[in-house]
């Protein structure tokens, strides 16, 4: 009896320990990170963006006598430490039609900051001085303003993460699914099958830092892709292969033999059977494989830092100078390392955990529907 009790206590203690760690981790991340999450955090650029704009000022008589109202640009501004932030634009404000130095329209928006009027720095100005300066240059007609759009948001990382997910899956999914088809439908038991399966198991066991080393050496340096999303995606697609292959294989194996036999019996070729009967039936399994892979990509850091780099920007090419991009996770790491900014890092972590949780629910839901059908 005592032994039984000890056993039972051990079971309860161990499982509550496991669950507790999770609660503590999630608690830590949410307590530190949740305050930093808001609409701006999710939608803004990471870095402040400075633009010089040419604005046609109007010297109109305006009846609004509010202190914060600047008639020449028809806008309300707020004095913050080093600049003047636009808090509201009136209709027909010339700021809406501002032109950047390339003469393209650059719409100055709410929350943008004006930091220079022509070549005058507004840093040490008071509200009155600013207003005066703004109105005094109005007679010139066109004035150049230096406008800073505040950053601090994770939008570029969200987009880059999405790019890397799409790119990696575009490479790994077809290869992985066709591999699984070969292994389950075509391959005969023998040496070749053994070698392939051995290779897949090996791949599954290699730690991501080794993938990172390999990717850096081959894709970044040898193939001259530089730190780029393509180099990152290629590295990740190798890392994903084992997951996709084994999950897809499992679902292929679960399809009853009868399906294939009846299809073949009806005169379909093996190819037709595979694409019209076998693959559609394995679709839920394949979807789960893809969702698992997305989760893996979202969480990956070591394999990406040395292949895709850590620049917080939306990449504008697949390879080369402008293709480097940080995903949410690599940026989170970079933040801890370079800035020691635990709060922002935890805010990103909250976003990642929510993403992972949604992915988990999704894969559960798909599996459930599939098994119910059977």
């Amino acid at each position: 009896m005592i032994k039984d009790a000890i056993g039972k206590i051990a079971l309860y203690v161990a499982s509550s320990l496991s669950v507790m760690t999770l609660v503590i981790i999630i608690g830590f991340v949410f307590v530190k990170g949740l305050p930093g999450i808001n609409f701006d955090f999710l939608t803004r650029q990471w870095q402040d963006k400075t633009t010089f704009v040419n604005v046609t000022l109007q010297n109109t008589e305006d009846t609004d006598l509010s202190d914060s109202y600047i008639p020449s640009i028809r806008a309300y501004v707020e004095h913050s430490e080093e600049s003047f932030t636009i808090i509201k634009l009136k209709d027909g404000s010339s700021l809406e039609k501002a032109k950047n130095l390339k003469n393209e329209t650059y719409e100055v928006k709410k929350k943008d900051m004006i930091t220079k009027i022509d070549s005058t720095n507004v840093k040490d100005m008071s509200m009155e001085e600013f207003s005066e300066q703004m109105n005094s240059v109005a007679s010139q007609g066109i004035t150049r303003l230096k406008v800073t759009r505040p950053g601090g948001g994770i939008q570029p990382m969200l987009i880059s993460t999405l790019y890397i997910i799409l790119l990696s899956l575009a490479i790994a999914a077809p290869v992985g699914i066709l591999s699984a088809l070969y292994l389950t439908e075509y391959a005969k038991k023998g040496k070749i099958l053994g070698v392939i399966q051995f290779a897949i198991q090996m791949l599954a066991g290699i730690p991501s830092i080794i993938y990172g080393l390999f990717g850096m050496l081959v894709f970044v340096q040898l193939l001259k892709m530089q730190y780029s999303i393509l180099a990152g995606a290629l590295t990740l697609s190798i890392l994903l292969l084992p997951t996709i292959i084994s999950t897809t294989s499992e679902s292929l194996k679960a399809i009853p033999k009868g399906y294939r036999e009846s299809s073949l019996g009806l005169g379909a070729t093996k190819l037709q059977t595979n694409f019209r009967v076998v693959l559609p039936n394995a679709l839920p399994g394949i979807l789960v494989a893809i969702i698992l892979s997305i989760g893996r990509i979202v969480g990956e850091s070591a394999a990406l830092i040395w292949t895709a780099g850590t620049i917080a920007q939306v990449p504008s090419a697949l390879t080369g100078n402008t293709a480097s991009a940080a995903t949410l996770t690599t940026k989170l790491y970079q933040l801890l390392k370079e800035e020691g900014d635990v709060a922002s890092a935890c805010s990103i972590a909250v976003v990642i955990i929510v993403l992972i949780w949604i992915l988990n629910l999704l894969s559960k839901w798909i599996t459930k529907r599939f098994t119910v059908k059977e």
Partner: protein, 309 residues
Amino acid sequence: MMVKHLLKNTEALESINMKTTKIREKIIETVFFLCALISVISVVAIIAFVFSKGLKPFFGDHAYNFLDFITGVRWDPENNQYGVFYMIAGSVFATAGAIIIGVPIGLLTAVFIAEVAPKSLVKIIKPAIELLAGIPSVIYGAFGMGIIIPVIEKISPQPQGQSLLAVICVLTIMILPTIITLSESSLRAVPKSYREASLGLGASKMQTIFRTVIPAAKSGILSATVLGIGRAIGETMAVMMIAGNAIGGIPTSIWDKVRPLTVNISMEMGYASGTHQEMLFATGVVLFVFIMFVNITVIRITHKTVEKD
């Protein structure tokens, strides 16, 4: 005549058709085969590139003595000192510690989920464990930095919290999901009749679990453990933030700082060039050899169970 000729033609056409479909099938099969081959090519390429770069500093004119490398206990690239033995020790100790703590906790949790817990509780615990499995390692690192290090700093005889113990704690948490999920499924795979027979012989539920069910699921639990070893030894980012990463010295207690192999690679990779960079690849080779052992053990174990079935 005409008809006969036509007939012959159609026959020929048909056979051509048959042939083309056959060829097409063959081509498609080949494409599938090539896809399957990519995994093999990748493994070969990874080994070839990492090894060729990592073994370079040990050959040629300015060759670094391999024995110095593998037995050295100081890593100081500025002074051309590259010893990795203390890192190997660090990796091995950290992994062993994580396994010693993680496997019992994980196994017992798995038993709880599979055998004891009511269904309603399982519905809460299991998704939680799955979420734990999906959390990126950098977040574990941040957690370690924010919670574990300050706690250890308070109780440690040494003045800093970065230590082997911190690494063991974080690695234990990180391998738990792997061990729980795999052990649970192997426990569930034990036939009902085993339990019934044991209970029928008068054994209590706990006796049945510990004397019958767990031994029957032995090989599954073993492979879970080995996979856990693989994950622990290969973990990088989380460990880097909490290990202390000393430049030399074999850890002699759990309060000492360690510098596991993975950390050494990723910490200096971005900066390194020349011999220094090659030495980091050499560290990768050492790590790879360890992983290879682990992998082959996993494959052996799973093979055996498959054969038994």
